[in-house]
Symmetry: C2
Subunit: 112 residues, 2 copies
DNA sequence: AATCGTACTACGACAGTCGTACTATGTCTG
DNA sequence: CAGACATAGTACGACTGTCGTAGTACGATT
């Protein structure tokens, strides 16, 4: 079984999170489940990686947090949601371009 | 100008080096030039990254070093050459498989 | 009563990469 | 003939994204 190494993915966890947030604001647990689903169970982001990505990206201005009720009927329990900013959208676009280049380059060193 | 970030490439410098060494033994400066050429000048490996990769990979048994004359006429000047080992070839194959998987997964989070 | 799912936070370790700097020799150029 | 440039490295510490471990809290399920 081949596993995705943390070295490769490094820097692209942010991209995955932003991809989810492009559609609508979301929160940790939900984002984690979506990444698992979208990747066909091939990639599970670690909790610590996820939450430290939130902190970093909010500091960098790529996302904004706000709290909202877990239950729409509002029983007091809150969750921290994140929404992507314009800077985040721009950063995401750059990462997509970078990915195209990187993919192209690394591919030249891969034999199958 | 989009640049390849060190985060993405992380872990794949080793793969590039091994790819070069699959053909024949080589040494630092030459490998560095080949990586630049093969990547169409799109990627330049840093000297420190290159040489620390040698140290690490030799420790892991993926490559072996030996010294040889710079000049075939042997004027005394020596260079450190590296040759790939069987373990190195196996590691390279694994990285290629890993790359296929990683590429597939990340691609799902990229829009263009 | 205990387990599981949800929803986090804290903290320190790890490791590949990078920046900076330094050494040394040979060759090319003005 | 001096200075720049190419070759061929070594040394060392900083950076940072990721990971391992651990702990908290609450509701629902069994």
């Amino acid at each position: 079984m081949v596993e995705i190494s943390s070295d490769v993915i490094r820097g692209y966890n942010d991209t995955m999170i932003l991809f989810i947030l492009l559609r609508e604001p979301s929160y940790g647990y939900e984002i984690s489940k979506q990444i698992r689903t979208i990747s066909d169970e091939k990639y599970l982001i670690k909790e610590t990686t996820l939450y430290s990505a939130f902190t970093r990206m909010e500091k960098n201005g790529y996302i904004e947090s706000f709290t909202a009720d877990q239950d729409p009927n509002g029983n007091g329990k809150k969750r921290t949601y994140y929404r992507i900013t314009d800077a985040g959208r721009e950063y995401y676009r750059e990462k997509c371009e970078e990915w195209a280049l990187t993919q192209d380059v690394i591919q030249r060193f891969i034999s199958r």
